[in-house]
């Protein structure tokens, strides 16, 4: 059984990402969901089930479906809260797709939301960490371990990473919903204060508030709602060790979860040469190094050669395989649960040719990718045309 061509995305919504000090967690959910309702041309009462992707519900919310039910008054239907590290958003989308493909529901809602700036602590909320093992680990720190190893093995340096930040900031400058909408120079990036060596400030995605929503329906019903829509072609999710740094065999030159999730998705979508067949991609650039590793793990380049894609401009907006035309996590921001759903929003807009100044040229196949934890959970979603 394959999910290919069975599920349609008929509506998407996304709030302006950023330091949304004047919006509550609920406000963002309502705005994103109602934008998606409107885009799909449906009434809230038509939603038969919903998935809520959020790593940490807003202050005062339960770690359950209620964090979506209450703001939307979406009561009496199945709502499942989903959490899978930074792959939370795409994972929520994946669950919604599976339920529709299974024939259990006709129309479902998938929402991703996160209020990162309202936690009472800096960075990502530390919850469930071992009090001693790996104590001192931070999000930039754990990805920096891969950068150090990659530098050591393949001989690149910070200037190559900087090119990722420059590209994604440039793309973000064309995106009115992005957290950052300003270009940066390579020199600025290289000289920025160090956060976790070798990452400087501009190698890291920001701490961002945001929410996004997607309406899915059975592909054979999609025409009842609109004439232009996109469909899911393939999905993959892989979980590896949450403690890769204790794995004695790990080479720290990529993330196996991404490789495995990509294999699953490509197989389902019938893709054999991703470098040629994928038109554009939204990948998880939580840190600049991660984007380069993603190129390799997603099969866009061989191991050790991903950095050439950024140096050669292949992944630039006008390149052969644009990556992160939205601005990526780097510029668009990264509210954990919202990011994956936001990527589906971006893919849909691009596939339908509605991305304005940052519109990519080739729009056959779009790929969304999240990798979460210390490179422990990855989700790959492939969308295309019916």
């Amino acid at each position: 059984m394959s999910i290919k061509d069975k599920v349609a995305v008929i509506g998407t919504g996304c709030v302006k990402f950023g330091e949304n000090y004047e919006q509550t967690y609920d406000d963002m959910i309502v705005e994103a969901a109602y934008e998606a309702y409107k885009d799909a041309g449906i009434e809230p009462k038509e939603i038969q089930a919903a998935w809520m992707g959020t790593a940490n519900p807003g202050i005062g919310h339960g770690k359950a479906g209620v964090s979506l039910a209450d703001p939307l008054r979406l009561y009496d239907i199945p709502i499942t809260r989903v959490e899978n590290f930074c792959a939370t958003g795409t994972e929520a989308f994946r669950n919604g797709c599976m339920a529709v493909a299974a024939g259990e529901y006709d129309i479902v809602l998938v929402v991703g939301a996160e209020k990162m700036k309202d936690r009472g602590e800096r960075g990502i909320v530390r919850e469930g960490h071992h009090p001693l093992l790996a104590r001192g680990v931070t999000a930039p720190g754990q990805f920096a371990l891969a950068a150090t190893r990659y530098f050591h093995t393949f001989g690149i340096d910070k200037t190559v990473l900087a090119k990722v930040a420059v590209k994604n900031h440039k793309n973000g400058s064309m995106n009115p919903k992005a957290h950052f909408q300003r270009e940066v120079t390579e020199e600025q990036v290289v000289k920025a204060p160090i956060i976790a060596w070798p990452f400087g400030l501009f190698d890291c995605c920001p701490t961002t508030d945001g929410a996004a929503a997607v309406i899915l329906c059975r592909e054979d019903l999609a025409k009842n709602f609109r004439k232009d829509y996109v469909v899911a072609k393939g999905m993959g999710l892989a979980v590896t060790s949450g403690r890769p740094y204790f794995d004695p065999g790990y080479d720290y030159l990529g993330f196996r979860c991404t490789q495995m999730a990509a294999q699953q998705a490509y197989k389902e979508a019938g893709i054999t040469d991703p470098r040629k067949e994928v038109s554009f991609a939204e990948v998880h650039d939580c840190f600049t190094m991660t984007e380069i590793l993603n190129y390799e793990d997603l099969g866009f380049a061989k191991k050790g050669e991903g950095w050439r894609l950024i140096v050669d401009g292949v992944t630039a907006l006008n390149g052969d395989l644009p990556v992160n035309p939205s601005g990526g996590l780097k510029s668009f921001g990264h509210p954990i649960g919202a990011t994956g759903v936001r990527m589906i929003h971006e893919l849909t807009q691009q596939l339908l040719g509605k991305s304005g100044k940052r519109q990519v040229k080739k729009t056959d196949i779009g790929l969304a990718h999240n990798v979460g934890g210390p490179g422990a959970v990855a989700c790959v979603i492939i969308l295309g045309h019916p």
Binding site: P131, L132, H152, I195
Partner: protein, 472 residues
């Protein structure tokens, strides 16, 4: 023949020049520097290092007791000796005891251990003394106090120094003290304390031990006499009729400071490192009375190789750049942080893994892995994993220098370390100059204090750049 079988010591990687202290207070700078424990160290963790060096390559399963002495115990109620014993992977059916509150707790413990060995109640007993005393800022004591630890392995076979005579005396005397609510050590009138406390008690104890061994002052090869300062020691040497040039062990106050209860142990190591068979050592320690011993150096000293020499510890130190940083290390300038959640149940379940440093070795494929597991990370066999104590030596596989993690001394270096004999750990690196961290650099593991989550001291292992030269 009861006596010392092995010794080990520990001098922290950090030193503070007295000039830096003097500058902070606008004073004339005295000579030298003092050893300062890192912000993640306490007397318990320092004692672990000293004990591990005393044990060396010996089987820890053959050690029958561990007595820990300190005046700066991490706990008012709870043994530290037990934590140290588990760190050293000692058995459970042994004697563990803390002898706290006394500057001569270490020598008192040594005397008790000798009695145990003599009565065949124990074959091998570790006696360790460790201190990190705080002198009040801007005081003379702040200048003189240093941090460190020492350890002696006591037994009745293969001794390198035999105990020939012992003499203890008690004296109710207020010289230096700290009430249960005091943070800083208090002292009485200095001259009075020196003459009527230190010199009087030490002289009587030393003469008592020498008399018991039928030795005259000129028979002593080396007198290892604990001392609060050089001036007090000079007076004692004169009172004993010893030759200050030839017979007196340097108390090392100039180089590392007065190490409190650890001072006589570290001084004795310095003397034993140079000792020759047949030499007579007078060893004495002061505090509410005094303990004195006559040690006879045996032939076994010729083939004894110390785990790490004092020269190596003292020669491999990093300077603390400012007085303010010293205040942070000592938590006199407190940092505000919320410790992670933990519980007594959780901590109990983790003892083998977190304290004994046990990982799992797969009987099927041989992979050594950490943390402990039931299913092999490599071949996924279930039920074929056995506990194995990991090596404390390794090499950095990859690392980062993290400025985001709240550290007393940023950046926090985090390293993935591949251990000798297998296993990979992800550890904080401590005692390092972050500029010198590199892939492939050799590191050694050390036991350190992490935080006070759950309301108790949470200890675990870190790594540090290898200090000084190594035992082959």
């Amino acid at each position: 023949m009861v006596g010392i079988k092995a010794f080990g010591s520990y001098i922290p990687a950090w030193s503070l020049s007295r000039e830096t202290i003097a500058k902070a207070w606008g004073r004339r700078p005295p000579q030298g520097e003092k050893a300062v424990a890192c912000h993640d160290e306490d007397p318990l963790t320092m004692a672990v290092d000293a004990c591990l060096y005393a044990i060396g390559n010996r089987d820890p399963g053959k050690i029958d007791g561990l007595i820990f002495s300190t005046t700066t115990s991490p706990y008012k109620e709870k043994l530290s000796s037990t934590t140290i014993a588990f760190c050293c992977d000692l058995r459970k059916d042994i004697l563990t005891a803390d002898l706290s509150s006394s500057l001569r707790g270490g020598t008192s413990a040594f005397r008790l251990a000798c009695e145990m060995a003599k009565n065949e109640a124990a074959r091998n007993v570790l006696v360790t003394a460790s201190d990190a005393r705080l002198g009040e800022p801007e005081s003379e004591l702040e200048m003189s106090f240093g941090d460190g630890a020492g350890c002696l392995l006591v037994g009745s076979d293969d001794v390198i120094a035999e105990v020939k005579a012992t003499f203890s005396m008690a004296d109710e005397f207020l010289d230096a003290w700290r009430k249960d609510t005091d943070r800083y050590v208090r002292t009485g009138e200095e001259r009075f304390g020196q003459l009527y406390g230190y010199v009087k008690n030490m002289r009587e104890a030393c003469l008592g031990a020498m008399k018991a061994a039928a030795l005259r002052p000129e028979d002593i090869s080396k007198a290892v006499l604990s001392a609060p300062n050089q001036q007090a020691l000079n007076q004692l040497v004169r009172a004993l009729g010893l030759n200050a040039e030839k017979q007196i062990q340097d108390p090392l106050i100039s180089a590392i400071g007065n190490l409190g209860s650890a001072q006589p142990f570290v001084m004795l190591q310095a003397a034993l490192e140079e000792a020759k068979p047949g030499q007579k050592i007078l060893w004495a320690c002061y505090g509410d009375g005094a303990d004195a011993f006559i040690l006879n150096v045996t032939d076994a000293i010729s083939s004894y190789v110390p785990g790490r020499r004092l020269k190596s510890w003292i020669g491999s130190r990093l300077g603390i750049s400012s007085y303010e940083k010293y205040l942070r290390f000592k938590n006199i300038l407190e940092t505000d942080s919320t410790p992670p959640k933990t519980s007594s149940i959780f901590a109990s379940q983790e003892v083998a893994q977190d304290i004994r440093l046990y990982g799992s070795a797969c009987k099927k494929c041989g992979t050594v892995q950490y943390p402990r597991a039931q299913v092999c990370i490599s071949c996924r066999a279930k039920g074929d994993l056995v506990d194995v104590r990991l090596s404390r030596k390794g090499k950095v596989f990859t690392f980062t220098k993290d400025y985001l993690f709240a550290s007393v001394d940023p950046p926090q270096v985090m390293a993935v370390v591949d251990l000798e004999k297998g296993g990979r750990l992800y550890l904080q690196m401590t005692d390092c100059d972050h500029q010198s961290v590199a892939v492939g650099m050799p590191v050694e593991l050390c036991f350190r204090k992490f935080h006070e989550g759950g309301g108790f001291h949470n200890y675990f292992w870190k790594c540090r750049p290898v200090r000084g030269e190594e035992k082959p």
